[in-house]
Structure formats: structure tokens, C-alpha cells
């Protein structure tokens, strides 16, 4: 097991300082100095620093932030800056800690970014479940307003900014940038067709810059260090530090700030302590539940945008979910698929029907009503979803499910066979596998069916899942 690595603390600097969420403590620690420094520069100069930093968006897509800012049309008009704080990707909880413990950092970053982008109206769209965090932001916003950081003519710079903290109502799709904009406008939170992109026609049809909490929270650091200095951290196309949320089968789950480009093994084993003793990593999601899973042999892939992309997955939101060998891959697939079925907005066909169908197929496998041929159908359904949807939610299910089918085909097939046997319909009734299913042989850690030997439990067994109810018929 590797020893924990030391990473520079930028975002998490002093994060556990008592009272950091107040302006007093924040300013004592150098807070809002970056804002003053930025306002002393021209907006173009600030933008140049952002570009030089090479900062890539931390929300999931990994788009270069400076470039995104420069997409906004120039000229005097109402421009909007929206902070996406609808952190809903399963396994992701980094923004939560940032906002709760250091809300002023986000507010400061947001003001600087608005100055660079020429935006004069801004919103923080925070997911509804983050009550504590929204309260912290609200309180910090009052302080920032009172100090003249938000409002008309900020610190005499001539730059004005309004800022509203808007609480969402609990839909994953409202974290998709255009769904977020619709929701913010008071509509049903459905993704919009792109183009037009938000940079041209976003909130209220105006030019809109949308950034993640972590991205904006990094901005004060970039101004303090200088873009070029910041870019020295990390690796060439993935600069700086990143917060990773590690969860699942690890001994020390939590948020860690790492320098991009370190081996993934150092995060999972070094920082998070790896799986409990005696267990092995079976697979891991490197960037939230929507990233294709990697296996244990991929643990040495450097943790940065491009390396993970080359390995067939993605860095996404930086949420590492570790699954060890005590869990059946079917359960992982089921949990993932059910989440996306439940959260699919229903606007476009492949996502709406594909997520629904995938769950139904997985349930059939689980109760022994499937054959190995169904795996092929399921794999082809994933292919039909990927790239054909209105937004990326469909892909967010199809990519991990597709990767699981491809990488754990044998286990799926064994599961199918075992479940069929327990219903008494398998080809190999009476074989060792059949006996294993009946509990007379030890079939190892994957005997999840042992608790359900009859196998005739109805599909919708996960009764708590609202996704299975029949829509108010």
C-alpha cells in the first residue's frame, strides 16, 4: 500500500479553520485580496491570467475555463454568470464541502470571473438538498454585500454585479447547464437544444457563462499565484489541483485535494486507504457514476483529464467510486441504471426509453428470466443511446453500463445462468452451479441470490425507488 502523498493545498487551504465561513476569518486569511488585485487589472488582463492557468472546468466536461469566458460576445448588454452548484452526480460531494466551509471563496471567485466576462448579473443555482450549504452561502452573501463586494460599483472599480442564491428542487437534470437555465427561469428543468449555446443565448436569452463551484473557487488562487505559476501544477493539459471525492469500498472515504496527474492508485490506496482488508478492487468509477468503469489493472493510470480519457473513461466531476469484489457487478449496474432512469427528464426518446428498458432487462437478469442473448440486446441498447440524445444524461447511463457489460461479460453470463437455475429453467440444472444457487455449495462472495432462492420475486423489488411508480395513472 502506497503512502499518502502530499499535495499542495489551494482549495482546501485552511478548510477546517473554525469560522472560515465568516468574512472576518476569511479576510484574515487573505480573503478578497485577489478580488482587489483583479479589479486593479483590466478585465482582459484577468481573462489572460485565466487562460494562462489552463484551468479546465471542474464540473464534468473539462472545458478550458478561459476559452469559455472568451466565447461571450463583447459589448454592453446584460450578461449572466451562473454558478452550477447543483452537485448531483452520484459520488460527488466536493462542492458541498467547499460551499459549507468556505463560501466566501466561491463568492470571490465568482465576482472576479464576472469582471473578466463582463457579466453584471449572477446566480448560484444550488441543489435543494444542500440546505446547510445554501444557508452558509446566503449568510456569506449578506456579508459580501455589506462589505461592498457585491452590488453597484464594486470597490470603486465601476464593475457592478447582482448575485442571487437560487435553490433547486432536487432534479439531477437541473445540473445539466441548459436544464439549469430553464429551471432558473421558472420552467420545467429540461435540457435545451444546442446550438444556440448558453454563451450566445442562455439565461433569458442573454449571453451566459456557466461554471462549476470548484472552477470558480479556483479563480482567486489563480489571481494570487498568477496564471502561469498555477499552470506549473499538474500536468500539461490538466493543470492545477483537483478535489476528488472518494467513496465506496475504501477505508477512508472523503474529499481530497490532489495535484492532477498523480497515479490513481495513490488516491485510492494512498489517500483513501483502499478497500477493507482482504478485499480487492473489482472496478472503479474515476469520475462519478456516469464515467465508464475501470478495472484494477487500470489503477496506475495517471489521474488527469487526458490519461483517463485514453484509458477509456473520464475524469468527470472527480468522484471516485470504488467497488470491491464483495459486490456483484449486476448490483452496480442496477443501482446505476435505476438512478438514471429515475432522473431522465423524458424529453428525448433514447434516454427516456433506453434507461427504462435497461433497468427492465437488468431486473429480468436478476430474477432469472434472461438469457445470455439479452446481454447482447442490452449492449446494443447502450450503443443506440450513446451520442444520439439531446443531452448527456442518456450517455451518462449508457457509458458505464456499456463498459460493465464489456468488461464483466463472464460475470453477467454466470449471473444469468445461476438465476435461471434457481428458477429451474437453466441448461445445467443439477450441475454445481445449480447446487450453488440452492445454497448447498459455497459459491463464493457473489451469492447475492442466496437470500432469494425462489427467484420469483417481482421486478420492482426495490420498493423505495420512486422511478417504478406508474405516474399518477
Amino acid at each position: 500500500m502506497a503512502a499518502p502523498v502530499a499535495s499542495p493545498k489551494l482549495l482546501f487551504n485552511d478548510i477546517d479553520e473554525p469560522g472560515l465561513c465568516t468574512r472576518e476569518v476569511y479576510e484574515r486569511r487573505g480573503g478578497y485580496d485577489s478580488l482587489r488585485a483583479a479589479l486593479a487589472l483590466t478585465p482582459e488582463a484577468v481573462l489572460d491570467q485565466l487562460k494562462a492557468s489552463g484551468l479546465r472546468g471542474r464540473g464534468g466536461a473539462g472545458f478550458a475555463m478561459g476559452t469559455k469566458v472568451s466565447f461571450l460576445p463583447k459589448g454592453a448588454m446584460d450578461k449572466y454568470l451562473v454558478c452550477n452548484a447543483d452537485e448531483s452526480e452520484p459520488g460527488t460531494f466536493k462542492d458541498r464541502e467547499l460551499m459549507q466551509k468556505n463560501p466566501h471563496l466561491l463568492i470571490e471567485g465568482l465576482i472576479i470571473a464576472s469582471y473578466a466576462a463582463g457579466a453584471n448579473r449572477s446566480f448560484i443555482y444550488i441543489r435543494g438538498e444542500y440546505v446547510l450549504q445554501a444557508d452558509a452561502l446566503d449568510a456569506a452573501l449578506v456579508e459580501a454585500r455589506n462589505a461592498g463586494y457585491v452590488g453597484e460599483d464594486i470597490l470603486g472599480s465601476g464593475h457592478s454585479l447582482s448575485l442571487v442564491v437560487h435553490r433547486g428542487a432536487g432534479a439531477y437534470i437541473c445540473g445539466e447547464e441548459t436544464g439549469l437555465l430553464d429551471s432558473l427561469e421558472g420552467k420545467r428543468g429540461n435540457p435545451r437544444l444546442k446550438p444556440p449555446f448558453p454563451a450566445n443565448q442562455g439565461l433569458y436569452q442573454g449571453p451566459t457563462l456557466i461554471n462549476n463551484v470548484e472552477t470558480l473557487s479556483t479563480v482567486p488562487t489563480i489571481i494570487r499565484m498568477g496564471g502561469a505559476e498555477y499552470a506549473k501544477l499538474g500536468v500539461e493539459t490538466s493543470t492545477g489541483t483537483k478535489l476528488v471525492s472518494v467513496s465506496g469500498h475504501v477505508q477512508r472515504p472523503g474529499n481530497y485535494e490532489i495535484e492532477l496527474g498523480i497515479p490513481s492508485r495513490e488516491i485510492i490506496y494512498g489517500l483513501a486507504g483502499g478497500p477493507p482488508a482482504g478485499r480487492q478492487v473489482k472496478c472503479w468509477f474515476p469520475g462519478g457514476s456516469s464515467s465508464p468503469v475501470l478495472k484494477a489493472e487500470d489503477l496506475d493510470v495517471p489521474y488527469d483529464f487526458d490519461s483517463l480519457g485514453k484509458a477509456g473513461s473520464m475524469l468527470g466531476s472527480g468522484a471516485i467510486i470504488v467497488v470491491d469484489d464483495s459486490t456483484a457487478i449486476l448490483d452496480v449496474a442496477m443501482k446505476t441504471a435505476k438512478f438514471y432512469r429515475h432522473e431522465s427528464c423524458g424529453k428525448c426518446t433514447p434516454c427516456r426509453e433506453g434507461t427504462n428498458w435497461t433497468v427492465k432487462m437488468l431486473e429480468r437478469i436478476d430474477v432469472g428470466e434472461a438469457t445470455p442473448m439479452d446481454l447482447e440486446i442490452m449492449a446494443s441498447v447502450q450503443e443506440h443511446i450513446i451520442g444520439n440524445c439531446l443531452c448527456v444524461l442518456g450517455d451518462a447511463m449508457a457509458m458505464p453500463i456499456g463498459s460493465m457489460i464489456a468488461k464483466f461479460k463472464d460475470e453477467f453470463e454466470a449471473h444469468i445462468e445461476r438465476a435461471r437455475l434457481s428458477r429451474g429453467v437453466g441448461d445445467a440444472a443439477g450441475s454445481d452451479l445449480a447446487l450453488a444457487a440452492q445454497g448447498t455449495l459455497d459459491a463464493g462472495p457473489e451469492t447475492l441470490l442466496a437470500s432469494d432462492p425462489s427467484g420469483d420475486q417481482a421486478p420492482g423489488e426495490h420498493a423505495g425507488d420512486p422511478g417504478t411508480h406508474q405516474g399518477g395513472a
Binding site: R341, G346, N356, I377, H384, L390
Partner: protein, 772 residues
């Protein structure tokens, strides 16, 4: 506002070079090369694409992902493939996905046989389904409204209906509830979807999820045929297709004509066809005999009517109702003027205008079109509530505001449903529309207008009047030298009544001060109270004008109100009511009651047996409804449109006869031969009689109509001398308390056709029921 003038570009689709207008969406551009890209959610009538169904995925060179053809504007040199394996697989998979939760109950589905889902499954589907799991189930069908049934299992969630409700009719009632595969269309709180244009969603639905309750299970597509005509139930004159089975109208669908209706219908136009076959239809001639109306032969009815009218001679009069065709109006006017030598004929509800004002308002240079409402920089809606006067224009105004940024101003005595869409809403005192127009004309005058006094008379605010002036005629800036296109949409009630002439003069002054005559896309558009009000005026059904607004009318003609007074006072003795029920439709029912009671002969030529006819008619001729009619009508913007018979006339051989035929036979009995032996001949006589219709033929009018202002013969319009520089004189209040009578104008929804259509019964207040 500049209309789009697209450049033609060349792109390649499936290997062939095709020319198409630049920036049209690929699915439309592909049609120029005879390539069909399947769609479900795409419907240009609903505005911008949403890209929800993903049926139209195509491959474009240089773009890695498949793109939706509905939302990709075509560019010069684009290379598009719709037949590659990748595209086929994607399209097949979308069909497969859509059918997963579709019940496939086509044998019992009204849409079966005319269903895009069936057609696209056949054309682009894989032919098999790999889905063996249970489908989603909903209770079905539900009443979405008294008119519409919703079957949510069949719904493919294309959003068309919701978009219609949200973005076209702006009633904001339909929403999608729940999420993902459990989404369904509903009203937010489950109340019935009742709105003036709700029926359009039935036609928009690409599957059998939304069906017409009156049409449900009445026919299959192979039992029916469609027959194009024009709805004459209101002045909007939307183009329709009547669905006919066994000579009965079973359904009315929109027949898209962007110059008239954009392909929408109101619920009255869509459902009032039921009245065509109602019990209350008059299907045979009736004669009053012993105080009762009894069926008689046509021969008898015609002789009695002729005798009655002949007895009255010059003391006879005629009123033409709104649905009268130009031809019928023209023949009726000749019957009155030539056979009976009576000058008393009218088609306007509440008083006529001096002929010179009629002509000046009809000046072809001042006429706005329906399309102009959409593209104008500013529209003033003055003394008319479109949803009650010509409903489909309500949608056009909303479209202009929403899509082209038209600035809408409203001036009405009360609130209207358009208020939320308007930039400026003004009020004036009831009956003071004329005074309002005079005040506005004054406000637009150069120099320092005397506004306070005039605004006071009109009962409006001076400050708002100034805002309106600024909206209609803003100060010119250096960079914007484009002439401002302003359209004024006004109701007939403005130019009726004691201030009618003053209002007309003021309108002409406003037009002059806004330079309307010289700006393309600017102008006046009058919504007449009667469907064919414009056509009847032009055909000479006015007390003071002959055909083509000529001054060949006999002198001394009385308008409708004066006719009533004459009948009540015994100065006139016979009246011919052609499609008009004065007690229901004309102002001052009390006066008309006395008038009809006092008349010695009342000839009613009508489709429905109303109380008025039962009480007062001496001879009743059964009349056609529009679906039975042949002839022409004129749209408020001057478009001649053609009615074609869709169903057989009710009542068989001794039943309903064509209007022109009845009038011809009656004229023969009065010694006048029209030489009209067919509907087409009646039209020919009309085109000969109106100079500015010269040379028109029914073929030229065709299915889309033709605006006479756009033909060469328009130069024959008797524009006459300018009257705009005369000072408009408001009528002095009749009594010192300044009280004035306000003429009643009925909403088009309050009509005998609505009353006799069971599907629309819910529009009428619930009748009291006596229990026990």
C-alpha cells in the same frame, strides 16, 4: 420589419446536389431533393425546433456525431447522408424505443391509417422489436376536455401539444407531469383543458394520443374523404378540409393557408360542423298557415314570397347576414333594386358610413394583410377583441410579438386576453372608440396638440396616449432610417354608431400621419362584424352603394336600423332576411321585435329554425350551411376565397336549394331574369359587376384565394378624393348627462351554430335542472 429573403444555396444529400434556401432546416431542405427525413416532434408551425424525438438523425460530413435534421440549418456545400448504415441504425433504434411503451392498439385507434407513427415505423423501423418486458400502463382514455380524449399510453412525448399551449395559444394550460418514461401530458391540476384553440392539438398529435371526442370511432380513414372549403362562421375565414362520410360532415380539419390562418383553427370552426346535421336545421320551405309554420313545396313558398314582396314593392327591404356569399349578396341587391325598385338593403350591423369614407378606407394602398400583422414593427388593436371577433388573428398577433418582436398596443373599453402580450394597453370609455380615434389622430399631429380635452371625451389618459404616439411613431434616429411598419387592426364597431364617420375620418388622418400609404407592410385592417362584411360591401349590399362601391345605388336607401324603424312605423311593409336573425344579431332587439311584428311579409332565408323565425317569418326558405355552399367570400384583407360544396344539401330534392337559385327563381317571379343557371354563372355575374374584380375567374381564386388589391384591376377601385384633411366631427351627446347608447356586438362564439353543436354545449352556461 424586414421579411426574411433567403439566399439559395447548394448542398449535397445522398450524393445528389440540391438547391435550397439557406438556413432552412435540413428536414425541409431535403425535400427539395425529394429526400424525406422522418420527424415526430418537428413542426415549424410551433416555432423553433426542440430536437426531442431524435427521429431525424442524419450524418453530416465533418461532424462526428449524428445531427438532428430538424435543428440543423442547411449551409452552402454541406454534405449530408440519410441512407448510411449508421443513420439507418439510429433511426431504427429510435422507432424501436418509441414503440417500447406504445400499446400498438392500432386496430382500435382513430389515428390508424393516418398515423405518422405507423408510417414512419413502416418506412424507417426495423420491423421487429426486441422488447419483451411489460409496457407502461395508464388509465385510458381520459377526458382532457369535453372535446378531447387523451390516451397517455399512446403518447410518444413529442411535446407538440404542450408547445402549442405554451407558445402558440399561450393559454399555458398543458404541461408534462412526472419524469422520464413516466412523463405524461396533462393540465397542471387536472382541470379540463378548455381554451379557444384547444382542438388544434388533436391535429398536431402525431399518434392517437389526442383524439377528437365527437369524431371518436365515427370512421376509419378509408371510409372518408376530405373536401376543401372555407369556414364562414366568423370573419377570419380560415381554410378548412371537411371530412365527409356518406354525405355527412364528420370532422373539420385545418387546411393550411399561411396568408389566412397559419394552419390553425378555433374550436368553433373545428367543432361547430355538428350543427350542419342538427335537428334544428330547416330542410324544407315553410309557410305560415293558421299561425303555424308548415312545410310547403318550393313552388308555393316562392309564389307566396314573390307575392308578398311585390305587394310591398318599394316599401320592401332586405338585410343580408354575415355568411351571405358575394354572389348571393349581389343577386339580392339586384332583386331589391331592379325587381322591386327598393333602395333599402344593408349588410352592416350598426349603421352605414358615407360612401366617400367607405371608399377611402378601402383604398388598396392602405390595406394591411394578415401577414403584415406578424411582421409589423407595431400593431394597434383598436376597438376589437380578436378572440371574440376573428379568433385566429389572436394567434397571429401573439406570433408577431413572440417571434418577431412586434410591439403590440391595445385600445379597448375593457380587458382582453391579449393584454399580457401587449406592450401597451389603453382603455377608453364604452362607446367612445370614435373619440379615442379622434384623440389619437390629434396626438399624431405635428405641433402642439390639444390632447387633454379629447382624451377626456374618450375617457382615456393623456399620458398613455402620448406613450401610444411614441410607440407608433418614435423619433427617428440616425442609424434607423427604415420606415416604420404600423398596422391598425380595428373592429367594425369603431366605424358604426353616431361617431362612425368621425372615427373613419380620424383613422384616415392617423394613416396619413403615419405615412401608411407609402410603406409596404403598413396599413389598416378592419374586422367586420359579419363574416363576409367586406365582400358584401364590395358587392353593393349597402344602402348607399352599388356593386364595387359605385354610386349607382338608388337614392334614399335606409340602413339596417332605419329599416327597422321603417317597418315598426309602417313606412315599410316587407323584409327579406337573408341569413340574418335581427333579434339575435342586430342592435336593439326591442326595436326589431316591433319591426318584425309590424311587417306584413317577413321572408326568412335561413339555415336554422330560431325563435325569431318561429315567431315572425311568413315564408321560410331553407338555406345552405357553408359546407353545402358554392360561391365566394372576401376576407377582411381583400382576399377572395372560394367556397366549395363538401356535403350534399340537406333535405333531398325538395330540400335545401342553392342561394343563387332561390334568388333567381324569386326574381323570375318578380319579372327579372338574372340569367344565372349555376353557381359559376353567379360568380361570373359578380365579377362583371364589380370593376375591381374584373377578369377574375374561380380558377384564379383556386384553393388559396387571391387578394384583389394585388391584381391589375385594383386600379378600378374608386378611391375618390382625399377626405383626411377634414376635421372629424364627433356627434354631440344626445342628452345633457352625456349618456350614450352603446351598440351591442356579439362574440362570434355566441352563435346559432355553436348552440346546435352538442360538443360545444359546455360553452353555454349550465341549464338549470329541476330535481324530483
Amino acid at each position: 420589419m424586414p421579411r426574411p429573403e433567403p439566399r439559395t444555396i447548394t448542398f449535397t444529400i445522398d450524393g445528389q446536389e440540391v438547391q435550397a434556401p439557406e438556413n432552412t432546416m435540413l428536414v425541409d431542405a431535403a425535400k427539395h431533393g425529394d429526400v424525406e427525413i422522418p420527424v415526430f416532434c418537428y413542426e415549424p408551425k410551433l416555432g423553433g425546433p426542440v430536437g426531442a424525438c431524435r427521429m431525424c438523425l442524419v450524418e453530416i460530413e465533418g461532424i462526428p456525431k449524428l445531427q438532428t435534421g430538424c435543428s440543423t440549418p442547411v449551409k452552402d456545400g454541406m454534405v449530408v447522408y440519410t441512407q448510411t448504415e449508421r443513420v439507418k441504425t439510429a433511426q431504427q433504434s429510435v422507432v424501436e424505443f418509441l414503440l417500447i411503451n406504445h400499446p400498438l392498439d392500432c386496430p382500435v385507434c382513430d389515428k390508424g391509417g393516418e398515423c405518422p407513427l405507423q408510417d414512419i415505423t413502416f418506412g424507417w423501423g426495423g420491423g421487429i422489436s426486441r422488447f419483451i418486458e411489460p409496457k407502461r400502463h395508464f388509465v385510458k382514455p381520459l377526458e382532457l376536455s369535453p372535446l378531447i380524449a387523451i390516451d397517455r399510453e399512446r403518447c410518444i412525448l413529442c411535446y407538440r401539444c404542450v408547445r402549442f399551449s405554451q407558445e402558440i395559444s399561450e393559454d399555458y394550460q398543458l404541461v408534462l407531469l412526472e419524469r422520464g418514461a413516466h412523463s405524461y401530458v396533462s393540465t397542471f391540476d387536472g382541470h379540463p383543458y378548455v381554451a379557444p384553440f384547444s382542438g388544434n392539438i388533436i391535429e398536431l398529435c402525431p399518434v392517437g394520443a389526442l383524439t377528437s371526442r365527437p369524431y371518436r370511432f365515427r370512421a376509419r380513414p378509408w371510409d372518408i374523404e376530405g373536401s376543401g372549403s372555407v369556414c364562414t362562421l366568423c370573419p377570419a375565414q380560415c381554410n378548412v378540409t371537411v371530412t365527409v362520410r356518406d354525405e355527412r360532415a364528420l370532422r373539420v380539419l385545418a387546411r393550411q393557408n399561411d396568408e389566412v390562418d397559419d394552419g390553425w383553427l378555433c374550436d368553433k370552426g373545428r367543432f361547430a360542423y355538428q350543427s350542419f346535421h342538427a335537428e334544428e336545421r330547416i330542410t324544407e320551405p315553410l309557410l305560415r298557415d293558421g299561425g303555424q309554420l308548415r312545410p310547403v313545396t318550393w313552388e308555393r313558398a316562392l309564389s307566396e314570397a314573390a307575392a308578398g314582396l311585390a305587394r310591398a314593392g318599394e316599401a320592401s327591404a332586405a338585410i343580408a347576414g354575415g355568411q351571405t356569399t358575394n354572389e348571393e349578396g349581389h343577386l339580392l341587391a339586384r332583386l331589391m333594386r331592379e325587381a322591386l325598385r327598393s333602395p333599402h338593403i344593408d349588410s352592416r350591423r350598426a349603421g352605414s358610413l358615407p360612401l366617400e369614407l367607405h371608399r377611402a378606407l378601402g383604398n388598396p394602398a392602405l390595406q394591411a394583410t394578415v401577414g403584415d400583422l406578424e411582421f409589423a414593427d407595431a400593431v394597434l388593436v383598436l376597438a376589437t377583441d380578436p378572440v371574440n371577433d376573428a379568433p385566429i388573428l389572436d394567434l397571429r398577433l401573439r406570433k408577431g410579438v413572440r417571434r418577431h418582436g412586434t410591439q403590440l398596443a391595445l385600445a379597448m373599453p375593457g380587458e382582453t386576453s391579449l393584454d399580457p402580450a401587449a406592450k401597451l394597453s389603453l382603455r377608453f370609455a364604452p362607446g367612445q372608440g370614435g373619440a379615442f380615434a379622434v384623440a389619437l389622430a390629434e396626438a399624431l399631429k405635428d405641433g402642439d396638440p390639444d390632447l387633454d380635452r379629447l382624451a377626456g371625451i374618450a375617457g382615456t389618459q393623456t399620458s398613455k396616449l402620448r406613450s401610444l404616439t411614441e410607440l407608433l411613431k418614435p423619433a427617428r434616429t440616425e442609424e434607423d432610417q427604415r420606415p416604420r411598419e404600423v398596422v391598425i387592426l380595428f373592429g367594425e364597431r369603431l366605424t358604426s354608431g353616431p361617431d362612425g364617420a368621425a372615427a373613419a375620418t380620424a383613422l384616415l388622418q392617423i394613416a396619413a400621419r403615419l405615412g401608411m400609404a407609402d410603406v409596404d407592410g403598413a396599413g389598416l385592417l378592419e374586422i367586420p362584424a359579419a363574416t363576409n362584411g367586406r365582400g358584401l360591401s364590395e358587392a353593393g349590399v349597402l344602402p348607399n352603394a352599388g356593386p364595387g362601391l359605385s354610386d349607382s345605388a338608388l337614392p334614399g336607401g335606409r340602413d339596417a336600423r332605419a329599416i327597422a324603424e321603417g317597418l315598426a312605423a309602417g313606412e315599410l311593409s316587407a323584409v327579406y332576411l337573408l341569413g340574418s336573425d335581427p333579434l339575435r344579431e342586430l342592435p336593439d332587439a326591442e326595436l326589431w321585435g316591433r319591426a318584425l311584428a309590424g311587417a306584413s311579409t317577413v321572408v326568412a332565408h335561413a339555415s336554422f329554425l330560431t325563435e325569431t323565425i318561429r315567431e315572425h317569418a311568413d315564408v321560410v326558405f331553407p338555406a345552405e350551411v357553408y359546407a353545402e355552399k358554392e360561391g365566394t367570400v372576401v376576407h377582411p384583407d381583400g382576399r377572395l376565397q372560394r367556397l366549395r360544396p363538401a356535403i350534399a344539401r340537406a333535405g333531398g330534392n325538395e330540400g335545401v336549394r342553392a342561394g343563387w337559385q332561390v334568388l333567381s327563381e324569386l326574381a323570375l317571379r318578380l319579372g327579372l331574369d338574372f340569367d344565372v343557371l349555376s353557381g359559376a354563372m353567379a360568380s361570373k355575374r359578380l365579377f362583371e359587376a364589380v370593376p375591381f374584380y374584373a377578369g377574375l375567374t374561380l380558377e384564379e381564386i383556386g384553393g388559396r384565394g387571391v387578394r384583389w388589391q394585388e391584381r391589375d384591376a385594383a386600379s378600378h377601385f374608386p378611391t375618390g378624393a382625399s377626405v383626411a384633411d377634414k376635421a372629424p366631427a364627433l356627434a354631440a351627446p344626445a342628452d345633457p348627462a352625456q349618456a350614450r347608447e352603446v351598440a351591442g356586438f356579439r362574440s362570434v362564439w355566441d352563435a346559432v351554430e355553436v348552440e346546435h353543436s352538442p360538443a360545444l354545449e359546455f360553452l353555454y352556461p349550465h341549464r338549470e335542472t329541476v330535481s324530483g
